[in-house]
């Protein structure tokens, strides 16, 4: 991984990368980042793996169901036990 360019540019862009992978930045800032990535393999890898990191976590949703006993005690505490039975049937 060799880079001959100014390393300070990488540091400056780092602060924007999270919003960049969310697609939340203005086009002009995206252009700057994309141009830099074209010249800097290091930042390109950081961006790609950062994006993948977020994607992988999103792929682990939805939430696993609450354990049966925890759910039963919750409905009992809230005095909703009657409704819990009704809800299991749907």
């Amino acid at each position: 991984m060799t880079h001959t360019h100014e390393h300070s540019e990488c540091r400056k862009l780092l602060a924007s990368l999270s919003e960049y992978v969310d697609g939340a930045l203005d086009e002009s800032i995206c252009d700057v980042i994309e141009q830099h990535m074209g010249e800097c393999e290091r930042c390109e890898i950081v961006v790609d793996t950062l994006r993948k990191t977020v994607e992988l976590y999103r792929a682990t949703v939805p939430a696993p169901p609450v354990p049966e006993d925890v759910r039963a005690r919750l409905f009992l505490r809230l005095e909703l036990t009657d409704f819990m039975k009704a809800m299991e049937s749907d």
């Binding site: 991984m1 540091r11 780092l14 602060a15 990368l17 999270s18 919003e19 939340a24 290091r42 890898i45 950081v46 790609d48 793996t49 950062l50 993948k52 990191t53 977020v54 992988l56 976590y57 999103r58 792929a59 682990t60 949703v61 939805p62 939430a63 696993p64 169901p65 609450v66 925890v70 759910r71 005690r73 919750l74 409905f75 505490r77 809230l78 005095e79 909703l80 009657d82 409704f83 819990m84 039975k85 009704a86 809800m87 749907d90």
Partner: protein, 213 residues
């Protein structure tokens, strides 16, 4: 412990009740079917959030119960400026942090330093592991690793990451739930994601070596 403000025959209305979004006016009028639906819809996400913040099943269960008890008690004063979901996440985050302070005060106290604006930790792991096949990236071992990596984040970073990237709240909703600025959400999210990227890169780089051997 809770007063039954309205006695609806159970099961009678449940089939007609729509799953989402919760109706605030029904909730505020004391509609217990609607409240039961709310509990049913959000108990999974809230339990998961609580468990990842407090790291202890009994504490997480207490947080889950307290969240809905407080929600029930405070429904009448809820003004609806945020969504009901965001409001529930706010109560749950508060409860979880109180539980965490009781169990591990030191874990929360170091959080003060988080906001220092002296820049981000420079990325260390520079390996492109994106090319790994999906079944490797999301194998049960990998999933376990993904899950454990979250636990290494400082609690204030962790809660932002959980609300935004796991529960899918927007930056604005996350800010509302935690009563912090959107700028603070963005800073903490960036920091959390970069730290997770480091851990994942370390792990997947090893998988890559195995794959390429």
């Amino acid at each position: 412990m809770l007063e039954s403000t309205l006695n609806v025959p159970p099961g009678a209305l449940i089939a007609e009740a729509s799953p989402a979004p919760p109706s605030l006016s029904k909730l505020q009028s004391g509609d217990r079917v609607e409240f039961a639906q709310l509990v049913d819809t959000y108990s999974g996400p809230i339990y998961r959030l609580a468990l990842k913040i407090v790291g202890h099943p009994q504490d997480a269960e207490d947080v889950l119960q307290e969240t809905f008890i407080k929600a029930f008690r405070n429904l009448s004063t809820f003004e609806g400026r945020s969504s009901v979901a965001t409001w529930l996440y706010r109560i749950a985050s508060n409860e979880a942090f109180m539980a965490l302070r009781r169990r591990k005060p030191e874990a929360v106290s170091v959080d003060e330093e988080i906001e220092t604006p002296d820049g981000e930790q420079e990325p260390v792991q520079i390996v492109d592991w994106c090319c790994l096949p999906e079944e490797e990236l999301l194998s049960s071992e990998s999933r376990e690793h993904l899950d454990k990596a979250i636990d290494h984040l400082a609690p204030v970073l962790r809660v932002v990451f959980l609300l935004r990237d796991i529960e899918g709240l927007s930056v604005r909703e996350t800010a509302e739930a935690l009563r912090i600025s959107e700028a603070a959400v963005k800073t903490r999210l960036l920091r959390a994601r970069l730290q997770l990227r480091e851990r994942l890169s370390h792990y997947y780089a090893e998988r890559l070596k195995v794959e390429q051997a």
